[in-house]
Amino acid sequence: MPGSRSEAAGAALVILATALAAALQAPAGAVDFAHEVVPILRRACTKCHSGAQRQGGYSIDSREALLAGGDSGLPAVVPGDPGAGELLRRVTAADPAERMPSEGEALPEEAVAVLRRWVLERAPWEEGFAFGAPVYEAALALRTVELPPAVGGRTHPVDRIVDARRATAGLAPLPRCDDAAFIRRASLDLVGLLPDPDAVAAFVADADPGKRARLVRTLLDDDLARAEHWMTFWNDLLRNDYTGTGFITGGRRQITPWLHRALVDNIPYDRFVRELVSPTDASRGFIDGIVWRGEVNASQTVPIQFAQNVGQTFLGINLKCASCHDSFVDRWKLQQTYDLAAVMAPEPLELFRCDKATGATATPGWPFPELGTIDPTRPPAERLARLAELLVDPGNGWLSRTLVNRLWARLLGRGIVHPVDALRAPPWSAELLDWLAADFVASGHDMKRLLETIATSEAYGAATPPSAAAPGADAGLVGPVPRRMTAEQFTDALWHLTGTHPAKADADVVRVRPDPAAPPPEPARAVWIWNNESAASPPGERLAFRTRLELAAAPRRAVAVVTADNEATLWVNGTKVGHTADWGRPLVEPVAAFGPGANEIVVVAANADAGGPAALKAEIRLLAADGAPLAVASDAAWEWTATPPDDRGGWPAGTAVEWRPAAVVENQSVWASSDAAFAAGLAGSGAAQPPLRAVLVKCTPLMSALGRPNRDQVVTSRPVDLTTLEAIQLANEQTLFDAFTRGGERWLASHGPDPDRLAAALYAAALARPPTADEARAARGILGPEPTAAAVADLLWAIVMLPEFQLVR
């Protein structure tokens, strides 16, 4: 190796010396254009040299203009040479006639040093950045939109605006999508579920020209389905979840029961916002944010989170930049963020700039004082009430514009302003945005009606054009863009197609509502049973009881009501359904584990360690596939054993188990005080109990892979693309595979074994259309002449993996 150690050391010294020299010239390292240079130039120069102001013929709006200089003809900045250029010369000039800025104080030395370093580093600029007036800002109040005339009988106000817009661009109105595509699209968009094949067939066959509007109305009138679909959207926007960061430190509160109820009832949006911003205990989780133990950055205190979340969620304003310093990208100031934060803060709020105290104090207020102010002397609760009042004031166009834009983006794939959080960007149609917003306000802030208005337009019902989804496409002109199913939509569809709905919600919501129009429920058939008529039982005795149920097909629904003195656990086909340990409060739980063939129902019941009589009472009400009501109830036909089952409620093959007939307990009146609760459980089971929705369970690893976020921040859009890691999960994740296996068995049992009939049924259920001849042939390739359950599972998997399935289009 050439070169000795001392040579190397010498070279190192030279490098060190060079580095030192460089360090002396640029003591603080590379200059940060956005955070260091822009504020100086904005403060000192833009008043006279930006936007419409070009005094002395000089504008700093773009890098090019800033370097070029003004009327003098001299370059203002020579990149890399701080000694040359008018800008540095003029800001440091001693002569007041020459010095810039021409009014006010000279630039402080530190500011000059930053500019000098910036010039020395060849004046780096941000791609796309321009000084100058805000890019776009609409008036606070909604404009009155004069609708263009309807063309070709397309009278829907949305279409009058969109058609006129297309006409200006020389484009004809978009053609309609076909009816089958429409019902699938509308079902997934409005209630988040695949349409039932019978409903698709009926809809396609329907000759009524008003059928699309009728369908939209019918879908939206399904309050529970609508609410539980849109709950995903609101959980994201309101940062609500059933588990997640902050729960272990007690730093987070759910608003789940409140939100579910509000959506089911479709409460007006102004009331919705008011109850969130000026909350009751049930809804205060939103303004409380997430509290981490320990010190947090000044821009993440609870009041600042409040300001950010109120700004983003309800006003489409991004106050995150303006939580540390005046925003560089729009007009929001640090002071405005803190003033909004101070509305909820119990103590006076000191302003921190970039995490350093400024000594200044915030005055409770909100960003649009022209509409009304908040009395800072009132206590926080009153200030919040006043803020809520101002937010929902019809004069505040941003509240309705923000929501209208978000819903439009959900239904058509792109916002009228896009991205949906960039409400400072110009909308592609200010008329459409404001017409929809004004109509929404005039309707009494009716969210359901707003969805109906959008979904009944021809703009929504148009065919998705090929290659529509290229990023950056002009949404105004391309029509509805295909959207990927959310993790929740995908999971719901999967559960539906495979019959693998879990039984239990994690969300604390009331889904079963007794239907007042329904006939009175039948009285309970179940009786208290044990292994002897007198219910005698040693302390801690544990017995297993079983019965069997033959079914031709999986039932439409099943609900179990179980109670025992003192505790019981119910298993159906090896799946644990639930547990109860209080005989006065029976377990009431939907059961998803029933399938065609023999079903085994096992209840493990135990006496208290303290002893006393023991007994069990259980009844399962089912609605069979053919619509017939069925019931299984504990009686003398049940059997018992003292051999405990394994942890799946069964007995391994080869275990010798002695089964004996159960005994009906003589004195049934011992537990009479529980009869009412038992009957109420059965009454609930008679009400329509739709299958569980993915939004109501905690995020699973699969849903997380499919883009369900952890809701540490407000989330306003879901990932657009399927990623490789997700695709791996779709190919081999075990729970998914098990679900497909189950689905294969079910479809084979209900539709088999004719391969063509199976394929047609699967296509109808998953894609709302029959397979083409080519597809039928390909499907037969998978199924073979005599399909096995595994082959059906594989065809179902292949259909679910089609982009056509995973996209809403």
Binding site: G29, G51, P124, E127, G128, F129, A133, T245, G246, I248, T249, I290, W292, R293, G294, V296, Q300, Q308, N318, C321, D330, P419, A425, P466, S467, A468, A469, P471, G472, P482, P701, A705, G707, P709, N710, D712, Q713, P719, D721, L722, T723, T724, L725, E726, A727, I728, A731, N732, F737, T741, T772, A778, G781, I782, D794, L795, W797, P803, E804, L807
Partner: protein, 477 residues
């Protein structure tokens, strides 16, 4: 009233003013800011982070101080390390007894004995781990990407068949603080394409890239073949140029390629000869090191292996610390030494950066008091020990910890920084913050610490505010 032409002219003028900014706004985020960022020349192609989850005490591992064995009445003031020190392959540098394997390969690496973390008021493991893994203190206004996601996003995998970012050994369900751990075990705003492939059990990693249980390999291959046939038969192939459809099919193909490729073998540690498995197998962490080696050999970019964070377990010693740390020594020493030797033998060490790190260090006996600053965390040494259970590092300490680095262009046989020899053992020479340590890792991997992406209209940097400075003294292997 102005004429319509005037209004139009003014609108055009305003439009031209805003055009540049608007054009940028319309682009999808996150968006790499290319201008003005010069990436350093990479000295490493891959990185393995050996994560000592729960707070590895420097005085009981890589930064030994005065030591006294336990005796009833032992004055805490007289003892800082609960292990005696041993010599290492670097002249004059000692580490704690129990780490003989690592001591033997230490001449291939460097010690940073002055890594410091902010106090954050209340020292909470998952929060400090979030900070260490993303470079940002939670909570943040945007979802921060893990540093592995940065590597995946900026560099991608070395081999396109493999995931770029693999996370070994950490369960994300069924343990304490799991939601907090999930909060940083993510690609954040980069999107899940760049997120970790999580393999909590190294011995089950092969299953993560195998057909599901219950599905024969032949059926798995057939299913995809049939799927392609079904896809080819589908109408609407005119939508082939559709962006969504294209990316969806590409991902499914990628996945299928991995699940069928020979690289799948990278996930299967059972393919190693028994004596190699034996050399690594001190438990899950050891097996994870072996898996990490195989993954890097096959082209993964960022692999993290953790001893696993579970509150009050492993390095999270709140009592019987000495006993527990002796067990942790035994768990990490052999596999780490084997990993370094194996990478070296395969000529991979020069281009693979291996780093041992933890969210903070510990000090003796007493639990930290909430609100106490780093300097006070060890300022109460008046205690006397009566029970062996109290002999150990039971107190969180953010004022000085040790990071060990091997390979990837890092200077060999080098010690950077120093902590005080008396309590509080603060970093007294060349303190290295998380920001600068990250800058060092990014620099080694050829990523400028000032690399930024636009998200929500503002820049978000690889190191906080783009200000991270690599510790230049560490380079020069």
């Amino acid at each position: 009233m102005r004429s319509i032409h005037e209004a139009a002219a003014r609108r055009d003028f305003l439009k031209s003013l805003g055009a540049a900014a608007t054009a940028t706004l319309a682009l999808p985020e996150p968006r790499l800011r290319a201008e003005g960022v010069v990436h350093p020349k990479a000295t490493a192609d891959a990185i393995i982070v050996l994560w000592m989850a729960g707070g590895m005490a420097a005085p009981d591992t890589f930064d030994p101080k005065k030591h006294k064995p336990f005796e009833k009445g032992l004055a805490v003031a007289d003892c800082i390390s609960t292990f005696p020190s041993i010599p290492t392959a670097i002249d004059g540098v000692r580490i704690c007894q129990g780490l003989e394997g690592i001591a033997g390969v230490l001449d291939r690496g460097a010690l940073v004995r002055s890594h410091v973390q902010p106090d954050l008021g209340s020292i909470l493991h998952s929060r400090h781990q979030y900070h260490w893994h993303t470079g940002y203190v939670p909570p943040q206004t945007v979802a921060c990407p893990h540093i592995g996601a940065w590597m995946a996003r900026v560099l991608g995998p070395n081999n396109p068949s493999l995931p770029a970012f693999v996370n070994i050994g950490q369960r994300l369900e069924g343990i304490g603080e799991n939601e907090e751990i999930k909060a940083f075990t993510t690609a954040g705003f980069f999107g899940s394409e760049f997120g970790p492939m999580n393999l909590p059990f190294p011995e089950e990693a092969a299953a993560a890239v195998r057909p599901p249980e219950g599905m024969a390999p032949g059926r798995f291959a057939d299913r995809y073949k049939h799927y392609k046939a079904l896809l080819a038969a589908a109408p609407g192939r005119e939508h082939a140029s559709d962006h969504h459809q294209e990316s969806m099919l590409r991902s499914l193909d990628n996945a299928h390629r991995l699940l069928s490729a020979k690289e799948r073998a990278a996930f299967d540690i059972a393919l190693e000869p028994p004596e190699v498995r034996e050399a690594y197998d001190t438990g899950r962490f050891g097996r994870g090191c072996l898996l990490a080696r195989r993954l890097v050999e096959h082209g993964a970019r960022y692999v993290e292996v953790t001893t696993e964070y579970v509150p009050f377990l492993h390095w999270d010693t709140h009592e019987r610390g000495h006993e527990t740390v002796a067990r942790m020594h035994a768990e990490i020493d052999r596999p780490i030494a084997a990993l370094v030797r194996d990478l070296e033998a395969r000529r991979l060490l020069d281009r693979t950066l291996v780093i041992i790190a933890s969210e903070f260090s510990r000090d003796m006996i007493t639990e930290g008091r909430p609100g106490s600053k780093a300097a006070d965390q060890a300022s109460s040494p008046k205690d006397f020990l009566q029970e062996p259970a109290h002999y150990g590092q039971h107190r969180h300490f953010t004022g000085g910890s040790t990071v060990v680095l091997f390979g990837g262009g890092i200077k060999k046989g080098f010690v950077h920084g120093r902590t005080a020899d008396e309590r509080p053992c603060l970093a007294v020479e060349d303190p290295v913050t998380i920001t600068d340590l990250h800058a060092t890792l990014f620099t080694a991997m050829g990523i400028s610490p000032a690399t930024a992406f636009d998200i929500e209209g503002r820049p978000f940097y690889a190191t906080e505010d783009g200000k991270g400075r690599a510790v230049e003294a560490l380079f020069g292997a």
